[in-house]
C-alpha cells in the first residue's frame, strides 16, 4: 500500500509542503513522516498536525486525499516517483520538478509546473494561471517535461517557455506562450487575447473552434498538414490526453512571428473546414 496523506486541517493560512517528495520520504516510517516539518504561514509544524499519515513509502508513490486547495508546492522539486492528488490542489504543483509523475484528479490553482525541468504533470480538471511558466524575473522558464490539463486554464500559459510540451484540453486565457524562447504549447479549446506575443522561437498551436486574432506582428506563411502534429497527438493519446478527432485531419494555417522579437516562432491555427 502506498503512502497516503489524508488532509484533515481546517486553516485559511497557507500550508506549504515543499520538500515532501517521494524520494525525501522513501524508507521513512509513518512516525518519522508524521514529524516531517512543513510550513503553515510562517510557522514550521509537523506534518501530522495537518495530515493523517498511513501506508508505506517504499514504492515511491504518495496519495494526497481531501480538499487540498489551501495546500501548496505539492511535488515541488521532485525527481522521481509518483504523486496522485485526489481533490483540488493549491499553487505550485510540481514546481521545478526534474522527474517523476504527478496526477491531479481535480482542479489545480496557479503555477502548475512553474520552471519545470522534467517529468509529467497531468491535471484532469481545470488549472489556474501561469501553467508551465517562468517565475517572475527569470530569463528561462520551463526547460523540459510535459504538462497536460484536460480542462481550462487561465492567463500566461507557457510564459518564457524554453523547452517541453504543454497541452490544454479546454480554453485558455490571455497571453498564451508570452515571450516563449522555444518549446510547444497546444490549446484545443478557445484562446484569449494576444496569443504568442513576444515569442522568439517555438510552436503555439491554437486548435479551438473560433480562431483568435493574432497580433499584427505575425505573418501568414501558408496552410498545410504538419506531420509532426500527428506524432505529438499520438504521444498525447498515449499519455491519456484526449485529442479531438477533427484535429487529426484538419489543415493548419502557419503564422511566423513574433516579429517584434526574434520572429522565429510559429503559430498554427486549425482551419475550421477540414480537407
Amino acid at each position: 500500500m502506498s503512502l497516503t496523506l489524508r488532509y484533515k486541517a481546517n486553516t485559511s493560512v497557507p500550508v506549504e509542503v515543499e520538500g515532501l517528495t517521494p524520494s525525501a520520504v522513501r524508507g521513512l516510517s509513518v512516525s518519522e513522516i508524521e514529524r516531517f516539518e512543513i510550513f503553515n504561514g510562517n510557522r514550521k509544524l509537523p506534518l501530522a498536525e495537518f495530515f493523517d499519515v498511513s501506508g508505506d513509502s517504499a514504492d515511491g508513490r504518495i496519495e494526497f486525499l481531501g480538499n487540498l486547495s489551501g495546500v501548496h508546492w505539492i511535488g515541488a522539486k521532485m525527481s522521481e516517483g509518483e504523486i496522485h492528488v485526489r481533490g483540488d490542489v493549491g499553487r505550485h504543483v510540481g514546481s521545478e520538478m526534474t522527474g517523476g509523475t504527478i496526477h491531479v484528479h481535480g482542479n489545480a490553482s496557479d503555477w502548475v509546473g512553474g520552471e519545470m525541468h522534467g517529468g509529467l504533470i497531468h491535471v484532469h480538471g481545470n488549472a489556474g494561471h501561469l501553467i508551465g511558466s517562468a517565475y517572475r524575473g527569470s530569463k528561462v522558464g520551463m526547460t523540459a517535461g510535459t504538462i497536460l490539463v484536460d480542462g481550462s486554464v487561465g492567463n500566461e500559459v507557457g510564459l518564457t517557455l524554453r523547452r517541453g510540451l504543454v497541452a490544454i484540453g479546454g480554453a485558455c486565457g490571455d497571453f498564451v506562450g508570452f515571450n516563449m524562447a522555444a518549446g510547444t504549447v497546444l490549446v484545443f479549446g478557445q484562446c484569449g487575447n494576444r496569443p504568442a506575443a513576444g515569442m522568439r522561437r517555438g510552436t503555439v498551436g491554437l486548435f479551438g473552434g473560433t480562431p483568435p486574432t493574432l497580433l499584427v506582428s505575425f505573418r501568414k506563411s501558408g496552410v498545410f498538414k504538419p506531420l509532426f502534429l500527428q506524432l505529438i497527438f499520438r504521444q498525447l493519446q498515449s499519455l491519456g490526453f484526449a485529442v479531438p478527432s477533427d484535429c487529426w485531419t484538419a489543415n493548419y494555417s502557419l503564422y511566423s512571428g513574433d516579429h517584434v522579437a526574434l520572429g522565429r516562432g510559429e503559430v498554427l491555427i486549425r482551419e475550421t473546414t477540414a480537407s
Binding site: 524575473g137 527569470s138 530569463k139
Partner: protein
C-alpha cells in the same frame, strides 16, 4: 566617562600604522575607544578576552562598494530569480531576517560585513537627491560605520560653474552639496559622459577633451576643477573618480590622461582594474593588460591612490551611475536593463551579468585585478575591493586574500581560466605573495589613511575599538571567512561567525564651510529646475542616526 576596561590579551597584533608586524600585545579598550594600558598596575579590566595564539587586526574597511540607495534597491527588486535561489538569512533573537544573492538586503548586508570582520563601508555613488533614502537604508544596515560619496561629475551646477570659470562658486557649491547630503567626498562618474548620454541617443564622451554640449565643458576640466576644489576644502578624502571609458579596450590611455589631469591634486581612481585595458578601440581581439604602465605611473605619483575592483567568476548584478555603461553591458549580455535619469545630477544603469572563466575578456579582467595588487609597489595606495557587486560580492574578499597570499593556489586557479591570459597579462610570471601585514594594509590601514579616517585602521590609543580577531589557518580563505571575534566600538558583535549584538554603526560625514552668499543663486536654481524645493533639499543633522563628523585636514 566609564572606568570599565575591556582587555584583549596576548594576541598576535598587526598594526601597520604603528609598524607592529605580528607582535604579541595587549589591547585596552574603554568607552568604545582603544586606550593606552593603565599606568596603575592595580587596575584590572572588567572583561578580558584571551587572544593568545589568535591574530588581531583593526576592523576591515571597504572604501568602495554599493550597498544603499535607489540603485541598490532597484537591483534588489530586479533580481527575484536570484533572490529565490540564494541563501536566506534567518531571523534570530537578536537579528532580523534577510535575503542574499549579489545584492543582499539591508540588514543582511550589515551582518555579512561584520561576519567577515569588516566594520566600515562607504557607498561609492549616491545622487544627492537620493541621500535621504540612503540615510534611511543605512539606519537599517547594522554593525558597520557608513558613509557615501556624492555624485558630482555630471551635476549641472558643477558644469555651469566650471564653464563660467567660477572656481570659488564651484568650491562653495561642492561644500554646500556635501553638507546638504551629509556625504563624504565628491564622486566623478564618467565625468561629462553621462550628461551626453542623457542629451543624445547612444551618446557618451570617449576622451578627456571632448566637449559636453550646452555646458561647453570637457571631462578634463571637470576632473581638474573638482579635484582642485576638494584639496582647497581640505576634505579628508580626495576626489573619488570612476574614469571615462570604463571597460573599453584601449581605455588605459584615458586612465593615464585622467591621472595626469589631476596634476598635483589628490585623486583616488576607483575600480582601476576596469580601466587598465590595452587593445584597439572596441576590439576585443586585441584586448590586453596595461597594468605595468599604469602601476608605474601610480608608484611615481604619491597623490594618486586606487582601489582594484577585482572580478570574481560567477553571476552578479552591475549597478553604476555611468548610464551609457549600463546600456553597453545590457546589450553585451542580453539581459534586462534598468536606466534612470536623476534630474540635474546623474544617471544610472543596472543589469545582471555573469563573469565566466571560459571568456577571454572576463579571465583577463580577473588577471588584471590581481596584477594591480601584485605589481603596485606601495600597498598603502592600493585597496582591496570588488566594487561590490560590480566585480563580485564583498563576500569574495577572503578568496582574494588567498589568491594574494598563496602563490600555489593562484597558479592552480590560473590553469582554469582562458589560456590567452598567459600571453596578454604578466600574472603568470608574478611570484609575489602578500604577508598578513600587507593584507592588513590593503584592507584596513591603507583605506583608513586614504579616507582620512584618523580613528580607524589602527590599534593605537584614540582609535575606534573596531577590531577583528582571526584564528590562524594555512588556508587563508578559511581564516578570513570566519573571524573568531569581531568587536565594533568596543562591543563584541560577532562571535565565531554568529552575530551577537548588532550595534547600529555610525554615519561618517564631512562639514566643510562654504560661502553662504551662493545660496541666493542656488535657491533660484532649485526653484527653476528641481522637483524638490530648495528648503527641503538639505538633510538636517537630527535626521541621521549616530552621525560623526570627520574633520577636514
Amino acid at each position: 566617562m566609564s572606568t570599565a576596561y575591556f582587555k584583549i590579551a596576548g594576541g598576535t597584533v598587526y598594526d601597520p600604522v604603528h609598524g607592529v608586524d605580528g607582535e604579541r600585545r595587549d589591547i585596552w579598550i574603554r568607552d568604545g575607544k582603544i586606550v593606552a594600558a593603565p599606568s596603575d598596575p592595580d587596575v584590572r579590566p572588567d572583561r578580558t578576552l584571551d587572544a593568545a595564539g589568535l591574530v588581531v587586526m583593526p576592523g576591515g574597511i571597504d572604501m568602495h562598494c554599493h550597498i544603499a540607495g535607489p540603485k541598490v534597491n532597484t537591483a534588489r527588486k530586479m533580481r527575484p530569480e536570484e533572490k529565490r535561489k540564494a541563501d536566506k538569512v534567518v531571523r534570530t533573537s537578536t537579528t532580523r531576517s534577510g535575503t542574499m544573492g549579489s545584492v543582499p538586503s539591508t540588514f543582511a548586508t550589515g551582518y555579512k560585513y561584520a561576519g567577515m570582520g569588516y566594520t566600515t563601508a562607504f557607498d561609492a555613488a549616491i545622487p544627492p537627491l537620493a541621500a535621504r533614502h540612503v540615510h534611511e537604508e543605512f539606519e537599517d544596515t547594522p554593525c558597520i560605520d557608513k558613509g557615501f560619496f556624492v555624485l558630482m561629475g555630471n551635476n549641472h551646477y558643477v558644469m555651469q560653474s566650471i564653464h563660467r570659470k567660477e572656481p570659488e562658486r564651484l568650491r562653495s557649491f561642492i561644500a554646500w552639496l556635501l553638507g546638504a547630503a551629509k556625504g563624504y567626498t565628491p564622486k566623478l562618474v564618467n565625468p561629462g559622459g553621462v550628461e551626453v548620454w542623457k542629451q543624445l541617443q547612444g551618446g557618451n564622451v570617449h576622451g578627456l577633451d571632448e566637449n559636453v554640449a550646452h555646458f561647453d565643458v570637457t571631462p578634463r576640466q571637470i576632473i581638474e576643477q573638482v579635484s582642485r576644489a576638494v584639496d582647497q576644502l581640505r576634505l579628508p578624502h580626495s576626489v573619488h573618480i570612476h574614469a571615462n571609458n570604463l571597460g573599453m579596450p584601449g581605455n588605459w590611455r584615458t586612465t593615464l590622461e585622467t591621472m595626469k589631469a589631476l596634476g598635483d591634486s589628490r585623486g583616488h581612481l576607483s575600480h582601476i582594474q576596469f580601466h587598465s585595458y590595452g587593445g584597439g578601440e572596441a576590439d576585443e581581439n586585441t584586448f590586453n593588460s596595461k597594468v605595468v604602465e599604469l602601476a608605474e605611473y601610480v608608484d611615481a605619483h604619491p597623490n594618486i591612490t586606487v582601489d582594484v575592483g577585482q572580478v570574481l567568476f560567477g553571476e552578479t548584478t552591475t549597478m553604476t551611475a555611468d548610464g551609457p555603461l549600463g546600456y553597453y553591458l545590457s546589450n553585451s549580455f542580453g539581459n534586462k536593463w534598468f536606466s534612470s535619469d536623476t534630474e540635474m545630477e546623474s544617471g544610472c544603469g543596472i543589469t545582471p551579468i555573469e563573469y565566466k572563466n571560459t571568456s577571454l575578456v572576463h579571465s583577463l579582467q580577473w588577471a588584471i585585478g590581481l596584477e594591480w595588487y601584485l605589481l603596485a609597489k606601495d600597498p598603502w595606495r592600493v585597496v582591496m575591493s570588488t566594487d561590490h557587486p560590480n566585480g563580485g560580492s564583498f563576500l569574495a574578499y577572503p578568496e582574494i586574500v588567498q589568491l594574494l597570499m598563496d602563490r600555489t593556489y593562484r597558479e592552480e586557479t590560473l590553469k582554469h581560466v582562458h589560456p590567452a591570459v598567459l600571453e596578454r597579462s604578466t600574472l603568470a610570471g608574478l611570484t609575489r605573495e602578500y604577508s598578513l601585514y600587507e593584507i592588513c594594509i590593503i584592507t584596513r590601514s591603507g583605506p583608513a589613511r586614504i579616507l582620512g579616517l584618523a580613528n580607524k585602521g589602527h590599534l593605537g590609543p584614540g582609535a575606534d575599538a573596531d577590531i577583528t580577531i582571526y584564528t590562524p589557518n594555512d588556508d587563508k580563505k578559511v581564516m578570513f571567512e570566519l573571524p573568531r571575534v569581531v568587536i565594533k566600538s568596543g562591543v563584541v558583535i560577532v562571535d565565531q561567525g554568529e552575530v551577537r549584538e548588532p550595534v547600529n554603526g555610525k554615519l561618517l560625514y564631512v562639514a566643510p564651510e562654504w560661502d553662504v552668499s551662493i545660496e541666493t543663486d542656488l535657491a533660484a536654481w532649485f526653484e527653476k529646475y528641481y522637483s524638490v524645493r530648495f528648503r527641503n533639499y538639505p538633510i538636517p543633522l537630527d535626521y541621521l542616526h549616530e552621525p560623526e563628523e570627520v574633520a577636514c585636514r
